[in-house]
């Protein structure tokens, strides 16, 4: 029997009633696997991550994370559960008023009773794992974009979470930093046997490191499969996304009721 770390069933969510961001979404993420959720900007990927981490609650449907149905749990129970979840934010979201050391040590200091010397060792190990040993005393604004992303990675891994979530980990990185990040994510996942969810729209890097892919558009899941399946699919929307074509079922134009020609008075 295969175990699932995350089960999302028939979830509907919207900040206001008329405009649901997610429409009846279901997906399952097997334990120990790396799964990517892909799609264009604004299709509800980040919202899905927030649902899984319990920051928001769905209007309909259930979310089960690490065998606990978080849609039914109290805030306190969710806080307990979050200690087993790590999350890497889009731009790192390092605490700007703390040094690198304090950032990485943050969770350890808040949730454990480890001694200061023990914490120092763990922080050094975590920083070494992302290749940044020796940066402890730097402040976040002294780091480059790629480095702060890696510090954030070290911070989210501090408590060795069972489930890691990455929100657009590759956005705004140069090709080298991007490959370094992708390599690190893969390496760390394999080493710690974590379940990982990768929200991204960077196809190339993610196809290399993930086991399974979900495609989303307009708050719905439109396709799923292994990287091989996805590369050979004939789903027009997925093809457009992979090839980055301007013309296709996925329009770049804003959807509006106004007609351009009538608006200008041409007709």
């Amino acid at each position: 029997m295969q175990e699932y770390s995350v089960i999302v069933e028939n979830v509907t969510f919207g900040y206001n009633e008329d405009m649901p961001i997610l429409k009846n979404v279901s997906l399952k993420i097997p334990a120990g696997k790396t799964v990517a959720i892909m799609g264009g900007s604004g299709c509800g990927k980040t919202t899905l991550l927030k649902l899984i981490s319990g920051q928001i609650r769905p209007s309909l449907g259930t979310v089960t994370v690490l065998n606990q149905e978080i849609t039914k749990q109290s805030n306190k129970q969710i806080l307990e559960l979050r200690k087993k979840i790590g999350m890497l934010f889009q731009f790192g979201a390092l605490f700007t008023d703390m040094s690198v050391y304090e950032n990485v040590a943050f969770c350890l200091k808040e949730h454990t009773d480890l001694s200061e010397s023990m914490i120092k060792k763990i922080v050094a190990m975590k920083l070494n794992a992302v290749g940044l040993f020796g940066t402890e005393q730097l402040m976040p604004q002294e780091l480059s974009g790629g480095m702060s992303r890696r510090v954030a990675l070290a911070r989210s891994m501090a408590l060795d979470p069972e489930l890691m979530m990455y929100d657009e980990p590759f956005t705004g990185l140069d090709p080298i930093s991007l490959n370094v990040s992708a390599m690190l994510i893969q390496k760390l996942n394999k080493a710690l046997k974590q379940t990982s969810i990768l929200v991204t729209h960077d196809i190339e890097s993610s196809l290399k490191i993930v086991d399974y892919i979900y495609f989303m558009a307009d708050g719905k899941i439109i396709a799923e499969g292994t990287p091989m399946d996805v590369q050979n699919t004939d789903n027009p929307m997925v093809r457009q996304f992979i090839e980055g074509k301007v013309n296709g079922p996925y329009s770049f134009e804003y959807k509006t009721n106004l007609d351009y020609n009538t608006y200008l008075g041409i007709l």
Binding site: Q55, L79, E80, I85, F89, A93, L94, F95, C107, E110
Partner: protein, 260 residues
């Protein structure tokens, strides 16, 4: 008919907004009260906040107090001279500072110096997802960020108000005794004759304590509801300063009516 409806809506809209804000602030206050004990386990957090909001406001408060005291001395001298009661100047300076000007001006200066900073900091932390990151790490931002700022603020404001009063009294002393050659002994004895410890000094400190709660609460709340954009954060800081000034003046009226 439509105009009437529009008019009533225009009247009702800000009112509903006001009630919503009031509810939000009350909610935040309750949450803060519930986790008030947390930062006492980590006193460095509170010390850091006192440093940022209190110590950094020290100079501006002392200088403002000094000038306000000098103005009081000068104006008091000019007015009292006509009634031949210049000797009352000491008690005039001390009473107006201790009862009203000290607590009120300190709170307003604190709002613009430290309160706006608190709002901007929380607003920016929200904009850069730091608050989200913290709550995903199972640490409540209210406990870790807001409560230390709150405690730091309500410790700092009364201390700053005492400093303001002291600087102001010396400012008044400087004008009336050093510049206008009033008798040194008369200045102090008139003052201590009319100032009572309980009625004036203690009540003034109670006032500034309450103002401290109000100002830090508004600053923190505005930071939390700020839109996560540059524009949103800047208008939130403005709202902190303006809102604090209004609330402090209104509270001052109520407290004065209750106390004196």
């Amino acid at each position: 008919m439509q105009k009437l409806i529009n008019f009533l809506a225009a009247l009702g809209n800000p009112f509903v907004g006001f009630i919503l804000h009031l509810g939000g602030i009350f909610n935040l206050f309750l949450e803060i009260m519930l986790s008030l004990a947390y930062p006492f386990k980590k006193p460095t957090l509170i010390i850091k906040e006192i440093y940022f909001s209190g110590v950094r406001s020290l100079v501006i408060i002392a200088i403002s107090g000094w000038f306000v005291g000098m103005v009081l001395g000068l104006q008091g001298y000019n007015t009292l001279q006509r009634f031949g009661s210049v000797s009352m100047i000491g008690s005039l300076v001390a009473l107006s500072l201790l009862r009203e000007l000290g607590p009120v001006l300190t709170a307003i200066l604190f709002a613009s110096r430290a309160g706006s900073g608190i709002t901007a900091e929380i607003g920016l932390m929200k904009a850069t997802e730091q608050l989200d990151a913290m709550s995903v790490m199972a640490v409540s931002p209210i406990k870790r960020i807001v409560v230390p700022k709150f405690i730091g603020g309500i410790i700092s404001v009364p201390i700053l108000a005492c400093l303001f009063n002291t600087a102001g009294i010396f400012g008044g002393y400087f004008v009336s005794v050093v510049l206008l050659k009033l008798d040194n002994g008369t200045f102090w004895s008139q003052m201590s004759d009319s100032v009572s410890l309980h009625e004036d000094v203690i009540n003034g400190i109670i006032k500034s304590f309450i103002f401290g709660i109000a100002v830090t609460l508004i600053a923190v709340y505005q930071g939390f509801i700020a839109k996560p954009t540059a524009d949103g954060v800047s208008s939130a800081t403005t709202r902190t300063v303006v809102g604090s000034a209004l609330v402090v003046l209104a509270l001052d009226f109520i407290l004065t009516a209750l106390m004196f």
